[in-house]
Amino acid sequence: MLNKSLTKRQLGLLLLIGGVIGFLGIIAIDVLDVGREGGIGPAQRIALGLMVGLALLGLTLIPMKDTPA
């Protein structure tokens, strides 16, 4: 299995999972580090946007099934 190329579906799932975990992780920075001031900063907003984009990209790839990525 590890010697085969990923499929579009597998890549889509990886991107979706990565995007969701990344999104939650960025949010968690403020939850865990409660002493931080200023809420979600500009760099965080950009990163959150990228994570949403990553997850959406993943979602659109999942229906591509077993096409090699």
């Binding site: 010697n3 085969k4 500009p42 229906p63």
Partner: protein
């Protein structure tokens, strides 16, 4: 190639003629920019002082390496100097110090040659995958025609050498998985990893290319991707740890901890807008090609590289960063737009059937002949449009008649026109040619530095180097450290307060505020010397 021939054979002859005329026009425009670039490089190579802020400290790093010393030093100990850049570029330049002594020309020549290698590699990548010689040439020239590449290419800076190693890495790895011979495949993987490590040890920003390359290798063959990542981490990590031990931890402090700078979102936004304004004609086909690969073909390393490099360009909003952070994305853009153009001209688009082809492709199949014909006109027009968008050239001397024909006037220093227009913060205010008056101004400052027996605190290294005096401090690095609360400064402040410097030379005043306050208290403005469009402030003890 067969498909290229068949596409040309099936197109109407009039259309082919128009295509060739437009392609020739695009080629002439981009060759013109190459000439402008070569003239600029030749001019800078002969200029003996700092042209861009900080070049002299790259030279100091090179001198230190040529003496077998690390430049990652304790900034609280005289001469308060340290570097925040990895070593490879300076190590490559070090042999020149042994032969020619301290000078700027060889660092600038290396930077310039690095961009030529990158342009060649872009052209080769496009030709290998696109099978269209003209487009391959245009793609390489388009890289050199970019305003960003133009103005930082021939500097004594490591950035474009990093881009060269990055480009060579993706070029080598792009088809490594398809090499049937095991030994050759292994050599290709090793070469790719070596180039990635070389890029990373030229400048830290190459980490994005490493991520893209490893992601590509993982997608194509997870086992090889994991092994490559392990090798990269082990070798890269061992070098990192080795340097850190050898420098008593200064390597970590100076190149990593001190590089966490303030982020200005407006600067990033401005630079992205500028990037699109200048490169939009090639960015759009590059983005379309990435989308095409995601949904209708296999993902190439170039697409992943483009995505990673573009995302990494967000860091251009950091203090001390700028448009140079887009150079890697520009290289990737040139490859992808070239592949888009070559596919269009050779008719090699194919769309794997999936849920998207039903909505996005099938309804337009009947327009295919019109779209193909339009492509013959559109592709060269994209390169011509790009040529218009990136317009930059001297407006004086031999270029004056051309500037008059084009109806442009200098909008930057020393008779230089730049379509970027300096609208975004972080865009380097350079690109003009230096003059004899600039060299005279520099020599005046060197004479002033020589005239005192005491050490001189100069914001640029060239004056002290040419006066054979110690180079004291690297102001931007002191500021990096101060911004990260890792700088003491008391020893340097004490020297300033005691007026131990015979002279202080300021330009951009990039020292930490505490140092500038001490200078203001103990030294007084004596005179200003113009050089290279800037006013160098000479201060003497009060």
């Amino acid at each position: 190639m067969i498909q290229a021939a068949s596409r040309t054979e099936t197109a109407p002859s009039a259309l082919i003629t128009v295509n060739r005329v437009l392609m020739a026009a695009a080629l002439v425009i981009l060759i013109f920019y190459f000439i402008v670039y070569a003239v600029y490089a030749a001019n800078l190579i002969q200029f003996p002082f700092d042209y861009d802020q900080g070049e002299g400290f790259e030279l100091v790093d090179t001198i230190l390496f040529s003496q077998g010393k690390w430049p990652y030093l304790d900034t609280n100990v005289y001469p308060f100097y340290s570097s925040n850049y990895p070593p490879l570029f300076h190590i490559i330049a070090a042999p020149f110090v042994w032969i020619f002594g301290p000078a700027y020309w060889y660092g600038r020549l290396l930077g310039f040659l690095g961009t030529l290698v990158t342009a060649w590699a872009i052209g080769y990548a496009v030709y290998r995958d696109g099978q269209h010689r003209w487009i391959a040439i245009l793609s390489g020239l388009a890289f050199l025609a970019s305003n960003t590449v133009y103005h930082i290419g021939p500097l004594f800076r490591q950035h474009m050498t990093m881009v060269m190693f990055e480009m060579l890495a993706v070029l080598v790895l792009a088809h490594a998985n398809e090499i049937a011979d095991k030994q050759k495949r292994r050599r290709a993987f090793i070469a790719g990893i070596v180039f990635i490590i070389a890029a990373g040890y030229t400048k830290q920003l190459a980490y994005a290319t490493a991520i893209a390359a490893l992601a590509f290798l993982f997608i194509r063959n997870p086992r090889r991707g994991i092994i490559s990542a392990l090798i990269l981490v082990l070798v890269g990590g061992a070098i990192f740890m080795g340097i850190n031990v050898a420098t008593n931890g200064q390597w970590w402090l100076q190149t990593v901890a001190a590089n966490v700078n303030d982020f200005f979102p407006d600067q990033t936004t401005g630079l992205f807008r500028l990037w699109f304004g200048l490169h939009g004609f090639l960015l759009i086909p590059a983005v379309l090609y990435v989308i095409y690969e995601f949904y209708f073909d296999r993902l190439s390393i170039y697409s992943l590289w483009f995505i990673a490099a573009t995302a990494n360009s967000i860091l251009s909003g950091k203090w001390g960063a700028g448009d140079s952070y887009f150079a890697t994305a520009i290289a990737a853009m040139c490859v992808l737009s070239g592949l888009f153009a070559a596919r269009t001209l050779t008719g090699r688009w194919h769309f794997a059937p999936n849920y998207l082809t039903r909505f996005l492709i099938h309804p337009f199949r009947r327009f295919a002949p019109v779209i193909v014909s339009a492509g013959f006109l559109l592709i060269p027009l994209l390169y011509i449009g790009y040529g218009r968008a990136v317009l930059h050239m001297p407006t004086t001397g031999a270029f004056q008649p051309i500037a008059q024909i084009l109806g442009i006037q200098a909008n930057a220093q020393n008779g230089f026109y730049d379509s970027a227009g300096r609208i975004a913060g972080g865009y380097a205010d350079i690109g003009h040619l230096t003059t004899q008056a600039d060299i005279d101004g520099g020599n005046t400052i060197v004479d002033l530095v020589k005239s005192t027996d005491k050490p001189v605190l100069s914001e640029e290294a060239a004056f002290n180097l040419l006066a054979d005096k110690d180079v004291i401090t690297n102001p931007t690095q002191l500021l990096n450290l101060a911004n990260n609360e890792s700088y003491d400064g008391s020893a340097l402040i004490s020297m300033i307060e005691n007026q131990e410097f015979g002279l202080i030379v300021l330009r951009a005043q990039f020292y930490p505020p505490a140092i500038l306050r001490a200078i203001g208290d103990a030294y007084t403005h004596d005179e200003e010397v113009p050089m290279n469009g800037f006013s160098y402030i000479i201060l003497r003890p009060k």
